[in-house]
């Protein structure tokens, strides 16, 4: 078979697939935000379903490109053509993966600060009216209880079972992304350091970012400092040993 035809055909094929992926990416960027805004579910299930389906489209394109490359392109390539075609495929693959990541980069899934403000306001209003069920005295709520807890009445010592409700319980789900969003400056400093000086040199900047994030998480979820510290150590370990910045 004519090798120029193979190169030309492969180029045309990958360009068409790239154009298709590009269309999906552009439309997903706009629709993604619309779905996220319209989705009032606390777990954002509709948005995640949409995102999952779009990612499936991208992986399907990648899979098709990979299969075509392996079964129809390379077996028909000769000599130096194989090197050029491999490069073409690798560049195309990297572009599609990059498009897949960019499709949802700018989408604000939830307004975390607003959600946090709503949670704390609901909590504040709720605890104002709570009295001991035994003697009627005002219960002292000295901290934010994000799960059901026993509160002892300071007057009659009765154990009251306080359930903060669904909204306050959501705090555990949004604590980490909210803390991360509040430490954006440290994170960007780390990214800059890493791109300029490499992973190892940026370890100290990453550590600063993690410490700031963990401190925020401690403020948001009081009582979980030990767990947050374990989390911090795991993240540092993953970064130092595996080079992964979660």
């Amino acid at each position: 078979m004519d090798n120029n035809t193979i190169t030309a055909r492969a180029t045309t094929f990958f360009k068409k697939m790239e154009a298709r992926a590009g269309e999906i990416m552009e439309e997903a960027k706009i629709s993604g935000q619309l779905v996220a805004d319209a989705d009032k579910d606390p777990y954002k299930r509709s948005y995640l379903q949409f995102k999952g389906a779009i990612i499936a489209q991208f992986t399907s394109i990648i899979q098709k490109g990979s299969t075509t490359f392996q079964t129809q392109v390379m077996p028909n390539a000769r000599g130096l053509e194989m090197i050029a075609l491999s490069q073409l495929y690798n560049d195309w693959n990297a572009k599609i993966v990059s498009m897949m990541n960019h499709a949802f980069e700018q989408v604000e899934e939830r307004n975390l600060e607003q959600e946090y403000a709503d949670i704390m306001e609901s909590y504040r209003l709720a605890i104002e009216k709570f009295v001991c069920k035994q003697c009627g005295a005002k219960l002292t709520m000295d901290k934010f209880y994000f799960q059901a807890s026993y509160i002892a009445c300071e007057f009659c010592n009765t154990q009251n079972t306080f359930d903060p409700g669904s909204k306050a319980r959501m705090m555990e789900h949004i604590a980490r992304p909210l803390a991360a969003s509040r430490c954006l400056k440290q994170y960007e400093r780390f990214l800059e350091e890493r791109s300029q000086s490499g992973r190892k040199a940026a370890a100290s900047a990453y550590e600063d970012y993690l410490k700031a994030m963990i401190q925020e998480m401690d403020n948001l979820l009081p009582g979980l400092s030990e767990q947050h510290q374990n989390f911090y150590e795991r993240m540092m370990n993953d970064y130092n040993k595996l080079g992964i910045a979660w």
């Binding site: 999906i24 439309e27 997903a28 629709s31 619309l34 779905v35 319209a38 989705d39 579910d41 606390p42 777990y43 299930r45 509709s46 948005y47 379903q49 949409f50 389906a53 779009i54 489209q57 609901s122 909590y123 709720a126 605890i127 709570f130 009295v131 001991c132 069920k133 035994q134 219960l139 209880y145 799960q147 807890s149 026993y150 509160i151 002892a152 009659c156 010592n157 009765t158 154990q159 009251n160 079972t161 306080f162 359930d163 903060p164 409700g165 669904s166 909204k167 306050a168 009582g223 979980l224």
Partner: protein
Amino acid sequence: MAEKNISLVERIKQLALEQKREEFKVKEANNSVKGCPQCGAGRAKQDGLTNCAYCGYEFIKVKLTDGIHIKKEDNSR
């Protein structure tokens, strides 16, 4: 009227927004007191959480260890 052709992404969006889901039941904050079902006595902090101080009724079978708010001192003696 001719059916308007919608794009794949638009179809995915519509499906996601129209998907029926298990209703998320919002539970309001609330407060309650659990008295002993055996003798009716109240539950006080100094008596611990696991057993009734008056009749010994077992509220909680497991031995409590240190958690976020509950501590091992909350075991009834």
